[in-house]
Amino acid sequence: MSNLLRFFRLSAGEVLNGDWRYYAWMSALALITLAGINAYCVQFVHGLGTTGMSDHVSWGLYIANFTFLVGMAAAAVMMVIPVYIYHDHHMHDVVVFGEILAVATLIMAMLFVTVDLGRPERVWHMLPPPLGNFNWPSSLLTWDVIVLNGYLFLNAYVAGYLLYMRFLKREPLKLLYIPFVLLSIVWAVSIHTVTAFLYQGLAGRPFWHSSIIAPRFLASAFTAGPAFLILILQLVRRYTSYNILDGAVLRLRDVVQVAMAINIFLFLSEVFKEFYMQTQHVAHIKYLLFGLHGHSALVPWIWTALGMNVTAFLLLMLPASRKLKWLNAACVLAIIGVWIEKGMGFIIPAFIPNPLGEIVEYLPTYNEILICAGIWALGFFIYTLILKIAVPILTGRLQADTEPHSAGISGDKAAVQSGNLKTGVSPGRWGRDKAPSENP
């Protein structure tokens, strides 16, 4: 217990100390989060009429972001599989970044659903009887609640357990984490499949009522998530002493490569099916790609997204993307492209035209965008916060038996001496023989 308290105390110290870039980053995120909270207060008081949604397009930017983020959370599995199934040593030290990403993105996804509710104070109605009236197994939303919370718990537990054991310099018990890790592999696929089934099952929305939705979701998730992790790993490498080997990044590149190829293929398959023999249902994808009866709000977006996806794919196919500069460009393009294509490009066309043939377009309002920005900022804030604790644990500087801030010096030095820095980080400017002086 005292170890746990020590852990919290030292983590708190870790989180409150950083250089000016850290403070600036976190302050900016905090301000954006506050702006989002402010916008949500307006929405809470006045209702969802402050958004751009209507009875015709009744799901919008919130659900679009929710869909995208569930995919990102599922991507953690793309690091877990190589490490735990194939025993890939490159990825072993970076799996935890994927698991922490899953925690942050799941919190964001659940926040997006919550801000989309008309009566959020009634969310307890989803509890099982006798408290609530949980409509399981009929409603896919109930399945989503179960799998998302379960996955959040799985990842938080596994990452937390492994980091805590590292903090205590104890060997983690295989029985206490390997089964959960293996479960999380299956579970990751399930969270995004269930989210896909949410849409896929609705016969009244022909744009969604297609068996290809679940595979498309998985393919785009495994494109955007690992791409994001590629960028994160490089940031960690740049700003901390945690050395991440290129092999981890390149293994993730392989995943993004294949996933993006499948993503594009599945999209083309959908396009063929719609346009070869055009039924009345082609109206939705026509609206998305070409506009319908003079309405074309989404057309520039989707073509930008498709262009980004194809460009990213081509870049990834070329050996040039083994160089980080091109790889990073491809990743940024892939993330934004998937966000558009799977967010607004997926949710909105199902509602246009509406089931009675009417076209009412959707444009998010300023308030809505602020709430989205606030949740994204909060997600980044949480992710940064957890990494601020996790990275020092991984480098060995934050341990149960060290005081990290009498000097960063002795921490590193002790770490080097005790051999905790398994990843072979170069000691940097500090871990020299000279003993630190006492505080004056």
Partner: protein, 202 residues
């Protein structure tokens, strides 16, 4: 750059903390002011554009039905007693204003009773009273009359559950002008409002 750690404390120079403090507090003040500014209108109500007019949901049938067969306040029998072999539409007044557009019906006495002008003509020369005018229509429009009796043609008001109350079929001439029975065009009540919510941008 790769040698710098997050926990480095010497990145703070002499001027950085106060500068950061100024920036942080300044940003907080700007944020607070902006929050108050953007919410200054939230209690205001915009004008209420839509008004429900009673004519939109007026339940009265399209025609008013009198109590008896009359015109200009006079019953037909007040003036007429004997049969005629003239076409009433050649008369100098009242009857010449009737526009007969009732399918292939071109003879007034197909429906009107030549001998007893206060009644209608049943098949075989008998009399149909005004109160049973539907049986007049039924002479030719058998299937429609059957449907009317069943309630599937024409408006039926009241109770679907006969044990709870009465059902009342609207009589034929409450909707159909007998001389020109085709349903007249009417003015539609207003279309649904656009710009109901910010999202309805069309």
């Amino acid at each position: 750059m790769s040698e710098q750690d997050w926990e480095k404390t010497d990145a703070f120079r002499n001027t950085e903390i106060p500068t950061l403090l100024l920036i942080a507090v300044g940003a907080a003040c700007v944020a607070a002011a902006w929050f108050f500014y953007t919410n200054r209108h939230t209690s205001e109500q915009g004008p209420r554009a839509f008004v429900m007019k009673p004519e939109y949901y007026d339940i009265s049938p399209v025609r008013t039905v009198g109590k008896k067969l009359e015109t200009l306040g006079m019953a037909c029998g007040d003036c007429h007693s004997d049969p005629t072999d003239q076409d009433p539409r050649t008369a100098p007044e009242i009857h010449n204003k009737v526009v007969l557009k009732h399918g292939s019906n071109n003879r007034c006495f197909n429906c009107h009773n030549n001998g007893k002008r206060d009644f209608f003509a049943a098949n075989g020369g008998g009399q149909i009273p005004f109160s049973k005018v539907e049986t007049l229509c039924a002479k030719c429009h058998g299937p429609t009359y059957r449907d009317w009796q069943r309630g599937t043609h024409g408006r039926r008001n009241g109770y679907w559950d006969k044990t709870a109350g009465e059902q009342k079929n609207l009589v034929c001439i409450a909707c159909h002008d007998p001389h020109s029975p085709a349903f007249k065009p009417m003015k539609a009540a207003p279309a649904p409002l656009k710009h109901n919510t910010p999202g309805e941008t069309h």
